[in-house]
Symmetry: C2
């Protein structure tokens, strides 16, 4: 993987098992609607037993972003850990079939490939239960320095803070990327994930580890511990204000579109209309994909954010977080590429 990349993504390599569920099923199972919760193997088994018929699609927040960016023409690589089993094979196949380079060897020992049991309620909202499995084997050794140096942007999932060794892989990637003069992006992943690692994420932002930050408004409120969305955006606007190294912030707000926050300025971008909200899984991941595909092409921030909004709209209209339509054709239709 020595050829230069636009984007290198580090993330948890997860296969999604998606099932429809009624609201009262979530209550009965004691899961928090709209959140991602970590589950152990027995709990994963039990959830599978009681949930409805499943559709299996490769997922993982960062991997969804990698696929979206590749489909929009960005040269993209992925770093994450699967096990050598059926689901791991499916995950690798799906990445490569969309043109994402992925050459981290699968684990031959230890737990099976990670799976996320996604319960989609009639309103299209998804509730995620993740068994991390093989992801926990991701280590700094899986991060190839030459590859990181070759990538214009290295993008990191906040969820990587969950498997302990992955955190070290994350830190290594930041160091190598910055020593090569490349940008580092982070997605806060989930309001509850922010709740678990709030201090560490703030530290990464404030010590300059992060150049581009992706967050939805709930995650940003969790980061700044405020009930007021405007106060959260204001706090982000002030980050590193006096240091010269501006933070670029992208804040998504569901149907209200997104905000581009930089150098004390906030610009709003509209959401794209959606025919019917079927499953919101991956909307944030695809926003990041679209933005980064635009950004690494040298398109301005606001147009890049429009591209993000377009990619997000596509995955909301069907089950699963991987695009089903030709994103590049769609982007051309809207004159964004």
């Amino acid at each position: 993987m020595s050829q230069s990349l636009d984007l290198l993504v580090l993330g948890n390599a997860i296969v999604d098992l998606i099932a429809h569920a009624e609201e009262d099923f979530l209550v009965k199972q004691g899961v928090t609607k709209g959140a991602m919760q970590l589950v152990d193997e027995p709990r994963a088994e039990n959830l599978f037993e009681v949930m409805g018929p499943a559709t299996v699609v490769s997922g993982g927040s960062g991997a969804n972003t990698a696929v979206g960016a590749a489909l929009l023409g960005a040269k993209t690589g992925f770093v994450g850990k699967v096990h050598e089993d059926e689901l791991g094979r499916l995950f690798s196949h799906d990445l490569k079939a969309t043109g994402v380079r992925f050459d981290v060897p699968p684990a031959t020992e230890g737990p099976t490939t990670a799976r996320c049991f996604i319960l989609v309620t009639p309103d299209g909202e998804r509730t995620m239960n993740t068994y991390l499995g093989a992801c926990q084997g991701l280590s700094p050794d899986d991060v190839d320095e030459a590859t990181v140096r070759s990538a214009r942007v290295t993008y990191l999932e906040g969820y990587l803070w969950d498997p302990p060794a992955a955190k070290d892989a994350f830190r290594k990637a930041v160091k190598v990327a910055h020593s090569a003069g490349n940008a580092v992006a982070l997605t806060l992943s989930d309001a509850f994930c922010v709740g678990r690692y709030r201090e560490e994420f703030l530290e990464l932002i404030r010590n300059g580890s992060i150049d581009i930050l992706f967050a939805n408004i709930g995650e940003l409120q969790s980061l700044y511990q405020t009930d007021d969305p405007d106060a959260a955006v204001a706090a982000l606007r002030e980050e590193r204000g006096g240091q010269g190294t501006h933070l670029l912030g992208l804040v998504t707000r569901s149907s209200q579109g997104a905000l581009v926050v930089r150098g004390g300025e906030v610009r709003a971008v509209d959401a794209f209309p959606v025919r019917e909200v079927i499953d919101t899984t991956g909307a944030g991941d695809l926003f990041a994909a679209g933005f980064l595909a635009g950004y690494t092409r040298g398109i301005d921030y606001v147009s890049s954010a429009r591209l993000g909004a377009l990619a997000a709209a596509e995955v909301i209209e069907h089950i699963g977080a991987r695009p089903q339509r030709d994103l590049l054709a769609l982007a051309r239709e809207h004159k964004l590429i």
Copy 2:
């Protein structure tokens, strides 16, 4: 499984791997568009390598019918063989989660669970490549006599003629069902499947093994070796004309709806309008599901065929051959149940 059933389905237990493909990909791979072809393991591996990102959904023609009928309120059981592996577990889970009884033990030796690589072209047409795997282990021992006796209708897939031992399971089920005074239904499955077993299928129809026959117009033309659809319907109308034991024939004709053929009469039933044809996989299976759910409830043939047309329309509008909407609610909306 001793409680009485409305419907018992015998079929190949298959997991579908569905990918989008362009027309020229089919040409390059040398596969016949619209058909089901059997592939061996190396060919299956190779197809998986070169095809696009896959969505995994439980399938199998007969199993799709079982699920559809159960969702429409019919007490349904399924007989088919999976291996004790991840895909086999997914298949079993999906059947049970929709209320289908399934207690054939998985194979612990021999080939892995069957998979069908389905290539969906931009026109929504599906081309299927099936690796039969564990299905080939289905034997007469898997057919429980008490269960067959308890079922009002035993429904058989024509595809069962492919794995050699399954044919014996099929014959045992016919014998037991008829000795208990129950009806036996058969679907011709596929024009190419009819091409492989034409004489045997005609023999089953003519010796009275089959009471209800499902076929699409292409399969019927293949059965009667004619280019003329009307001639094929006419030939079906004359089957067993003088024997008193009328054959009930259901002939589907895509957007032209279906025909109910019985006792020398032919009645036409319209198709339901479809918003957008996304993937026609399972349309015939769901037609049979709707018809049999109506039939075993004691609804007249024409209304049962309407119910079949409604169920077929639902699966055409999305990827995969298993319903995603609440079929029973849909049927009630249209005052068919």
